[in-house]
Subunit: 425 residues, 2 copies
Amino acid sequence: MTDKSDPTTTRRGFIKAGIAAGGAAAAGAAQAGEPDPLITEVQDWASYTGDGVDATPYGMPIEYESDVVRRNVEWLTADTISSINFTPIHALDGTITPQGCAFERHHSGAIELRKEDYRLMINGLVDKPLIFTYEDLERFPRTNKVYFCECAANTGMEWAGAQLNGAQFTHGMIHNMEYSGVSLRTLLEEAGLGAAGDLKDKWVYVEGADASSNGRSIPMEKALDDVLVAFKANGEALRMEHGYPVRLVVPGWEGNMWVKWLRRIEVTNQAIESREETSKYTDTLEDGTSRKWTWEMDAKSVVTSPSPQSPIPHGAGPLVITGLAWSGRGSITGVDVSIDGGKNWQEARLAQPGDDKALTRFYLDINWDGSEMLLQSRAKDSTGYVQPTKAQLRDVRGLNSIYHNNCIQTWWVKESGEAENVEVS
Amino acid sequence: MTDKSDPTTTRRGFIKAGIAAGGAAAAGAAQAGEPDPLITEVQDWASYTGDGVDATPYGMPIEYESDVVRRNVEWLTADTISSINFTPIHALDGTITPQGCAFERHHSGAIELRKEDYRLMINGLVDKPLIFTYEDLERFPRTNKVYFCECAANTGMEWAGAQLNGAQFTHGMIHNMEYSGVSLRTLLEEAGLGAAGDLKDKWVYVEGADASSNGRSIPMEKALDDVLVAFKANGEALRMEHGYPVRLVVPGWEGNMWVKWLRRIEVTNQAIESREETSKYTDTLEDGTSRKWTWEMDAKSVVTSPSPQSPIPHGAGPLVITGLAWSGRGSITGVDVSIDGGKNWQEARLAQPGDDKALTRFYLDINWDGSEMLLQSRAKDSTGYVQPTKAQLRDVRGLNSIYHNNCIQTWWVKESGEAENVEVS
């Protein structure tokens, strides 16, 4: 407690001790005997009361974090009416994505619905066609679970080579939120599925209230499994751009099936073969044929830091390598990290045990020698699947694909600590 | 697919079907044969493209949700410099609290620190006093976990009787976020605890950089257990009012120990007996003596809906009763709900298994007969503890207490669906 006798002098002493121990030189640190302007001029917070905090409006990020926002890619989305805004995953930690910076993709703009005007129709092969108001939905038993939502086109620009310089742009069409809503099974059973006969070969066709409608067919087996009609994400109402007031949550399956502004669910005896599941969201192979019904998102991972938008700000020594891993088929059981482009692998530490169809945060703590690295991560899931290299994917799928690129990503980390998106052979 | 031939007519038919089935009359619903203005005039979203979505700035809640914000209580906090802003728990679902509406309590305003100016000192009985920059902290191994943070004064106004009419005000000094940071143990070990000798009777004294400093003593056993030096909440940087850029996270313990703008950690051989742990945050008993060192938050729960700010908008029939439960001593193992003021209890459904020192969401789905209810919830935790009634608490603690009121809350739900905060004997 000796530091209380002459705090200014003693603190300056400790700052020097800290510099010596940590190796991180503070800009403008004082010489011994001189007043340290950091202490005398900057760190004066205890000498006055801070700002009052107004209860309302909504609490915003501090001004210094104003670069931690969604961003788009100009050449990719020339018009904001049909656009993509990417999650700043390079700047986040943990697994939850705040709604305010959670990626969103819209095909015909974002529409504005009031809860009072909202209706959800269930029709087709049901015993009793129904229309639910928002208030009706709130009267059914609810469920809660964290799920990731990934656009099928995430990493799609990378098929042809390293294109986009930043994890936000290569892997940021993903978010991970805690959803509250009603099981789709509950609503289908309310309408009655007797009229549908044998459910094995039945489908539901789901569409949104916006001009794109973004209609998609979902096999009945999935519809009765874990699909949610959701009205809250991370506890709050959905943002307008995420489908306020109601969207579909299709755990583990590609994001375009998570229909926003959900207005209709039709039980059918076949897939509708809509535009969104024929001309789009199929994977064209080398021979010109296309894979379709590729709904599940394969296991995938990416190092979020260091990465092109999150360079190493210090020199050699202790370095935290961190990233995200996920699988649409189950939970993440392990992540390996390589610093030499895949020649050698080390097992990363999972921050928490893998959670079904949700993001998992991994860390690898290394003592960086300051030389360049080819940084990669490789996810493994509960089905035994291992994330492939880009070469392995191309062997099977050729070069024509856009969607479902889950290959291992490489960042070239230079001696300066800066990083670039590269391919390794 | 017959509805596609004449969608307007067919949809109107289904709206009538829905009304008949759900019993919820849509305001302004059309008579048979008349055009329904809801469809012809309001639900026109598919006839135009919606608004473009700008990538930046930060995505805000839709205008219709502008009442889901933190609020204060004027008579309780006359000045915003030393104030409390309560979480709108009555309007949220799930368990995660978004930072933008997560409760905050400050004693000397909220101060504005840049990461570059931030320093954390560890001194006292350590081998090597250290000062860490923000960047230094990012180089240590990180951990991630969801924890609740509850102010010791939460529900404190209710000792003397039912005072505040709304779950936001009676129980809203709580939030639940996923924290990312460095274990305090890691930093203490970096400074070296050899100088402290036997750690059994040692303490750490933690203080913030604001004028209140809000210093608190924490036993070494807890400091070396699960305490975090955190810099992210729900993936993002902390909000200014939550202690940007670094706060302490003391899982399960009262919120005032979660020091914001954390600047110093001193290893001591005794508790400092600061203002915040003597004249404040102690519980005065009937005989005038005070309990102190009451750090752990006892198991507690509250029904968030229906509640005074979240009345039942419909009549008798299916009703979702929901709320939150938590324990500072472990996980929630069960929640019972009573609709008759504690005479009879039903076991609620937990949305997910109870998570250690984190909020648990519970639901009870009932068929409400439309008569008045005295709605209560009762939490049970992994230590076997059962949340007490207010009478049981008063028997032990008298009427002088403010802090650590974890008694069972009662909402009187009237036939109209409106609710009031009441006491039952």
